[in-house]
Symmetry: C2
Subunit: 162 residues, 2 copies
DNA sequence: ATCCGTGCAAAGTGTTTGCAGCGTT
DNA sequence: AACGCTGCAAACACTTTGCACGGAT
């Protein structure tokens, strides 16, 4: 979830700076990979999915390079690596300011994953600090449930029956 | 997190009933696996770790059987399968009443995983329903941060320096 | 000339599956 | 006899690694 006020090229510049500052280069392959992530902010792609999209723009690229790029971006806190338990890690752009306060709505019926920007955990985090002495630096909150569309389908089929 | 008022054998009986009700048997292998989970409620073992402990009590068992048992128990909602992103799924007993309101405190320094029983998400879940039409049935909340012990170490080393 | 980054293929790791055999009903 | 369950090994899916080559400084 990158600051949407910036254009894609501005955001790439920003990421380039982060790479160069740490002694890495923004190669063609890395740029294309970042671009794909930027163009699909709302999705949570697996490495394989990123690879396929990157390959469309840069056919010579190898899967290993995409893995290495995603790992690098992960280390640099540019992307977040999440595992929803379906066998493959998924990758998300982080917000530019480093904060990370989106949660996931995972539909148990259709498998869709929606991102929401609520937070509302500050009180809980303070409680954790007081009660357990644990200083929270980040969190991950996933909700399982039924999304609006699937609930709608249920209602429709109920009406059809009733 | 099974109701701790019950003894282990009572809890096994309970789980046996759940299995038998759905047409499954509580074989030796399954019982030993469940027993290991019960004896290590506070841990979050990988399949391999469960396997090694089970093997101590039942050396003939195969790894595949442990995987199949854990999957079965997962399907039956007896255990929860969690992925902390370290490459292997981990397995947790669920509470007997089916509710599941523990969160995880994952220390980024020593890797420890503590379970806490707070909830405090009801308001947030209601908000999600109103705002996104998403009906929450379950959630998962992990906090990354620094645990009490590691914070203590920091303080000590600071004192040593200062 | 050096050195980082790449593509490819091979290896690694966690997990699932096919199958023959066993035990219980 | 039927059928669920098991152990073993093979297959699988995702990810990492070794290595020689290429491109930029």
């Amino acid at each position: 979830m990158v600051n949407s006020r910036n254009s894609i090229s501005e955001q790439i510049d920003l990421i380039k700076r982060q790479l160069v500052d740490k002694g890495y280069k923004l190669t063609q392959q890395r740029e294309v990979t970042v671009r794909v992530l930027l163009e699909h902010e709302k999705d949570h792609f697996s490495a394989e999915e990123v690879f396929l999209l990157v390959k469309e723009k840069f056919p010579e690229i190898g899967l290993a390079t995409v893995y290495r790029t995603l790992e690098l971006l992960s280390d640099l806190q540019v992307v977040e690596k999440i595992n929803f338990g379906d066998g493959a890690a998924r990758f998300d752009l982080r917000s530019t300011d480093g904060s990370h306060h989106h949660h996931h709505l995972i539909c148990t019926e259709c498998g869709s994953v929606e991102e929401i920007m609520e937070d509302g955990l500050l009180r809980l985090e303070q409680q954790v600090l007081h009660q357990y002495g644990f200083a929270v630096t980040d969190h991950r909150l996933d909700f399982q449930g039924v999304c609006r569309e699937c609930r709608q389908k249920h209602k429709l089929s109920e009406q059809a029956v009733g």
